[in-house]
Subunit: 234 residues, 2 copies
DNA sequence: TACTAAGTGGGTACAGTGTTCCCAAGACGG
DNA sequence: CCGTCTTGGGAACACTGTACCCACTTAGTA
């Protein structure tokens, strides 16, 4: 356990002698780069080049690549303005969920970079505060409120991850979903359909309609909220 | 769009001339390594050493590290035996959810490695078939069944990710959750509590009880299932 | 049985990665 | 105006995935 443990956020407040750059600039550059070209393009060298500085100079502003990512995560969560809670907890939690999803979709690297230990940055805290306010509309029991908020957050996280990794697959394989399906269809026909080993998978492939991601997300969120309503009404 | 596109699973069936190793052995070694030392220790060189072979020899069995991961994902999903669906869809979906969670907890790298395009390996297909059977107990509409299954899967994925990344944080920082809390408590006191900017976060920190991961997971799953029940009963 | 072709194991090498170590140059307090 | 501290940033290191190549073993054929 390191004794010289200092949080990023305290160090941010300290002002420094001179600055050719600022942490904010670096973070902004990194976000722009990751948005445009994905996580794999986010190297310290690329960030430095994009920021017009030397690679190792970045380490004057940021101790780690991990720390840079932590700053990026918080910065991005500050893009959204949260309204004052309406008091209708279902509507408020929907705002939270939609907002989280929108942010993660806008910054495709965010979902995979989210860690559990709550980011203690100002923006993440503001979001957490609004989310807790929304959940607080459903119950006064703060333990229950934070449990049900966790449920919503977990669902949103999982749903967005599924949505994003489909996108990511399209990018990495260079095939759209339909192209991929037709490419694997001979294998699918032989192994899944003709073998008869996976009857419901087969039926699913043939008969199920594809919901759009919006529909799938809304359906799942509706389930979660309905379940919460029931567990709160007790 | 590559024309020479061949699935891993077809290539696996082809038998080869001689084999000092087998794909199965390599995959098993890789899984053991990743389980024990985490994703960051999973390098081709380590796998090769552990398997007692040269690094580049692995590429005779596996075209990519990504492909190795895909094989690992499927292999791990074959550890669990699925029962025959009981017909009680709530119980069956609970079995699915608990099983997915248990597998992901046993292999901490799995959750972050899951991709959306369904793994077409035999084990993943068997799991999907059971899961669809479970969901099919709730409704005959296959589109609805697969939507609600997706909701469960998304929730489970998100919940386990939260659970795992907490563990991962403990490993990477070398501090337990409690140690970390007391380490950041001065900052928390100043920025969150005393500033008064985040009243519900403050209240949460002081008053909320910590649910165990089992409790949190069960609570969330209960919400999801209750919501599904309502959306199906319509 | 001898020869050829193909497939296998694996060393070397390369382009990149995050990060540490240094040093020169500039900014600040006295 | 000087000495000290802080910056910017180049060189270098340990490490990654993997393409290329070569010697060698095997399988099939003459």
């Amino acid at each position: 356990m390191p004794q010289d443990f200092t949080l990023v956020w305290t160090r941010l407040a300290e002002q420094r002698r001179r600055q050719a750059l600022s942490v904010e600039q670096i973070v902004a550059v990194a976000i722009r780069l990751a948005d445009a070209e994905g996580t794999q393009a986010l190297t310290m060298r690329r960030v430095a080049t994009e920021a017009g500085t030397g690679t190792t100079s970045l380490y004057r502003y940021v101790t780690n690549k991990d720390e840079l990512l932590e700053l990026m995560v918080d910065a991005v969560q500050g893009e959204r303005e949260w309204p004052t809670p309406s008091g209708d907890w279902r509507a408020d939690l929907t705002v939270v969920a939609d907002g989280m999803r929108a942010t993660m979709l806008r910054h495709p690297w965010l979902a995979t970079e989210l860690r559990s230990r709550p980011t203690l940055g100002p923006n993440a805290l503001r979001q957490a505060d609004f989310a807790l306010a929304a959940a607080g509309g459903a119950t006064d029991d703060i333990t229950l409120a934070s449990a049900l908020l966790g449920t919503v957050a977990n669902y949103v996280h999982g749903a967005v991850l599924a949505e994003l990794s489909e996108r990511e697959d399209v990018r990495s394989t260079g095939m759209t979903q339909d192209e991929w399906r037709s490419a694997v269809s001979p294998y699918v026909r032989e192994v899944i359909i003709d073998s008869g080993n996976y009857p419901r998978v087969a039926r699913r492939i043939f008969e199920a309609d594809d919901l759009s991601h919006d529909q799938q997300f809304a359906f799942g969120l509706e389930c979660v909220l309905a379940g919460i309503e029931k567990s709160v009404a007790r």
